[in-house]
């Protein structure tokens, strides 16, 4: 639920830094709903795979903010936050009405030489129905400038110029937030059509015949509509920004602004940051056999000297040496990667540094990335391969064929640790934006501190102070224990608030096993103890986990007390994680949630090698939709944008966001920090392989 303030800067930079190569093919454009289409109508087009867009559009008193993502070549989804101002100008009601909606679109047919692209879409498929509609749309391109679209809409898109109800009448909406499947494609259907003409790479003209009568808005005097025809002009500025101005129905004027990001294309053109040190070549063994003598291992001060030299070289890249162990032919170094976003690059830099530091007799480099004090994998590189492949074409593929990635194993008994790393105090003060809606939330400052007591044992906490907020204060009427819906009270009374104060212990209970125990003030609303065990073999796409928590609900004042709520509960989940390949990750959690409800969460994420991540989740529990509230059940979309993608510089931080169409107390989990799966997967073969090429970066 958080957005570091840098998202804004990232987006601003994203638009500023992109140089404008023209889009060669005519990919789909976005409409006022932030979805692929014409002006107000959808089209049969899709965006290019993995396109992510953020749209803000204004139509009279209606504002729509939409996040859309082309999840695969054919499937795309949107999350929209819509507000109607002056809602009560002619009919009673609140001054401002707002609605959140989720769309899904599937391109059934791709455009062929003679056949059009055909898309089926569900607009606002779960919410209370102000925006609910379904459609089939076909789009055909003629030449490289003209596109013609025709379609049939139901629901809102069937409200003007209807031709009858081919699939029966549309039942009234059941306002529980569950998918309105019984409504889909029911009721009056109406045709719509439109054309799109591309004048040049920057300018596009659009015209359409709309089947949306704006019934609700018309009745409330918000929108006047004389004709079903809409016209407009759009201006594309570089690949990342697009503006639109439209005339709707002869009487209304609309504006659109889209930010279009492609996770697969870096605004900076590539990873910046210093070039690596060249690999240091050893003398040929025949020429200098003495250099290969292993006698150095008996030198008393060899270990501390080597470790110090290595640490100095790696500090340049933000890599800390946890410990070092060696014999005459093999070295094992355990590293903590603090800055480089790609694990493979951190491994490559470490291998290069080892080539400079280790005596020539050492042929095998074992590099063990350490996360939260525990080793998560062991990457074994032969030094002669490193030397031989440095300047060979396709060296990343060739090196990967010769490298093994295996179980980290225990820390060798004779390992030399670094007395400067434990115990160690760290702190930070950072500006933070916490968003609940695409443009609603608060900004503030977070003071965080951590004390690394020993490898795997860390005491940490954070305090948050709000600076400004545009959240709508709300009061919870939930019939369930208010495990989440009192967030308004927590924001209001707890400022500043102690967000977290925990003692966490990470360990490796066995081969392929990882564990975590976190004790203390786990999050804003709940405190207690949380334990987790994860089974994840290094080269397995499958991981299994178990988590058990006992928590008490905290006071809203952000302090240490528990007097306000008399609520404690044992929650827990069994989880399965699966990497389907090509960046699609799935997760299933089954268990008991914070309000005592029992159920399951399914989530699917598309993860890009560069750290971008876009996903959706849904939780169904035994809480009835009525008790859950407007949204019916917990669901939402989430997204992570790495700073490195936008800025190119070495940086492991990222912006993370989660949007829900409505929150409730059902299906809620404790927000404990440092759950095991993601940071461990990063250094397993499924995390290292997609961007393995960066090993030579």
């Amino acid at each position: 639920m958080q957005l570091s303030s840098r998202l804004v800067a990232v987006l601003a930079l994203g638009t500023a830094l992109v140089s404008p190569p023209a889009l060669a093919e005519m990919s789909g454009t976005l409409n006022l709903n932030g979805a692929t289409g014409l002006i107000d109508m959808p089209s049969g087009d899709a965006q290019r795979d993995s396109t992510f867009s953020f749209s803000t559009t204004l139509l009279g008193p209606i504002t729509r903010s939409t996040l859309s993502f082309q999840f695969s070549e054919r499937l795309s989804g949107s999350f929209r936050f819509q507000t109607w101002r002056d809602w009560n100008s002619e009919l009673p009601g609140p001054d401002k009405e707002s609605d959140r909606s989720i769309d899904l679109r599937y391109q059934v047919l791709k455009e062929g030489k003679y056949t059009p692209a055909l898309t089926i879409g569900l607009q606002d498929l779960t919410a209370k129905g102000l925006f609910g509609s379904e459609y089939i749309a076909a789009t055909k391109t003629f030449g490289d400038k003209l596109k013609v679209t025709a379609g049939l809409g139901w629901g809102r898109l069937g409200s003007d110029g209807g031709i009858g109800s081919p699939f029966g009448s549309r039942p009234p909406v059941d306002p529980t937030g569950t998918p309105n499947a019984d409504q889909w494609f029911r009721g009056e259907a109406a045709p719509f059509a439109g054309v799109e003409y591309k004048l040049n790479d920057s300018w596009t003209l659009k015209g359409e015949y709309s089947s949306d009568a704006y019934v609700v808005e018309d009745r409330r005097g918000l929108i006047e509509r004389d004709s079903p025809f809409n016209f407009g002009v759009e201006y594309q500025r570089g690949p990342a920004t697009r503006f639109g101005a439209y005339s709707l129905g002869g009487k209304e004027f609309a504006l659109a602004f889209h930010i279009i990001l492609d996770p697969k294309s870096r605004p900076t053109g590539g990873v910046t940051g210093r070039a690596p040190e060249p690999v240091k070549a050893r003398p040929a063994r025949a020429a200098d056999p003495e250099a290969y003598d292993g006698g150095w291992v008996t030198q008393a001060d060899a270990g501390s000297l080597l470790r110090k030299n290595l640490a100095k070289r790696l500090a340049v890249d933000g890599i800390a040496v946890e410990n070092l162990s060696y014999n005459a032919t093999t070295v094992q170094v355990r590293i903590r990667n603090g800055r480089i976003d790609a694990g493979s690059q951190a491994i490559g830099r470490t291998a290069r540094a080892l080539s400079h530091v280790m005596p020539a007799s050492v042929e095998v480099f074992e590099i063990v990335p350490v996360v939260n004090g525990v080793g998560v994998s062991k990457v074994t590189i032969r030094r002669s391969d490193l030397e031989a492949l440095e300047y060979t074409a396709d060296n990343s593929t060739l090196l990967r064929e010769r490298v093994t990635i295996g179980e980290a194993g225990p820390v060798p008994d004779y390992a030399l640790g670094d007395e400067n790393l434990y115990p160690k105090f760290r702190w930070g003060l950072r500006p933070v934006v916490r968003l609940g809606e695409p443009i609603k939330g608060d900004i503030g400052l977070r003071l965080s501190a951590a004390y690394d007591l020993a490898p795997g044992l860390v005491l940490s906490g954070s305090i948050y102070k709000e600076i400004a907020s545009n959240r709508d204060p709300g009061t919870s009427k939930s019939p369930l224990p208010h495990v989440r819906t009192d967030s308004g009270r927590y924001n209001e009374f707890g400022d500043p608030a102690l967000e977290r104060l925990t003692l966490a212990w990470f360990a490796r209970p066995g081969e392929n096993l990882y564990s975590r125990v976190t004790f203390g003030y786990l999050e804003r609303m709940h405190a207690g103890v949380s334990g987790e065990v994860l089974w994840k073999p290094v080269d397995s796409p499958l991981a299994l986990g178990v988590e058990v928590n006992y928590t008490k609900q905290r006071d809203t004042d952000g302090g240490l007390g528990f007097g306000e709520y008399d609520y404690d509960i044992v929650t827990g989940h069994v989880s399965a994680y699966y990497d389907f390949g090509n960046g699609y990750l799935g997760q299933l959690d089954v268990g008991r949630y914070l309000a005592g409800d029992v159920g399951a969460t399914v989530s699917v994420d598309r993860v890009f090698a560069n750290g971008w991540r876009v996903g959706a989740f849904a939780t169904v529990t035994d809480v009835s939709p009525e008790d859950f509230g407007e949204a019916g059940f917990d669901k939402g979309v989430r997204l992570t944008i790495p700073f490195n993608w936008a800025l190119g510089t070495d940086n492991r931080r990222a912006v993370g966001l989660t949007f829900r169409p409505g929150s409730g107390d059902g299906g809620a989990r404790v927000n404990v920090e440092d759950r095991l799966y993601d940071p461990i997967r990063e250094y397993h073969s499924d995390g290292l392989d997609p961007d393995w090429g960066r090993v030579w970066r």
């Binding site: 060249p278 702190w427 934006v433």
Partner: protein, 229 residues
Amino acid sequence: MKLLVAGLALALLGACGSDKTGSSPVMSAVGSFAKDSLAKVSPGKKAAATGAAKGGKGTDPSKRRAELEKAGKPVLRVSSKAMGLASFVKIADAKGPVLTWATPDGATFSQRNGVLIQTRGLGGDLMSATGPSVAQLMQPGQKYTRIYYFLGGDDQGVKRTYDCVTTIAGPDRIEILGRAHATTHVVETCARSGVKVKNDFWIEGSRIRQSREWVSSGIGHIEFARVVD
């Protein structure tokens, strides 16, 4: 909107803490962006700052050459107008036929027998490549393949295979920092499904004295001239 503005202001203020591993990325990006645009506007200034690379106005080329030769080490001139790059660089690594040249601000260029095969630290880097030998370049009309490897924007490896052929443009007398060289100008044309890449080489005897070589779609061409052997 207010929230966005405040957020942007905060972002620019950056963060602070004991953790020095992640400086203020926004500030550094803004800094490098500003630097880049400055360099683009006035390449002359940048050139002056990095040691009057082109031996530009106000500097006597032969005097500059004498300074460079004094060190007794090989020097390569690397320049790209589009990138605002103009630098005299030294050898950072030599392994057989491969020489790696490093700029003071942390970019490297690796050449095998004078043909560019890798870059680092430029952004859209050439991660690795096959390249022709000088003998191959001097055989006009004879076809050969060249493979370039990049990292895509999503950090996945990208492989581009080109069919190449050279033509000899003719003898060309070129001047590099006040010294004349009698060279043969060879043009290498590489094509891949409608995309063409052109590289120019000025070959003196059996070695490449000067070249203008394509790096990647993001970087474009970079010019290299061997000033001091």
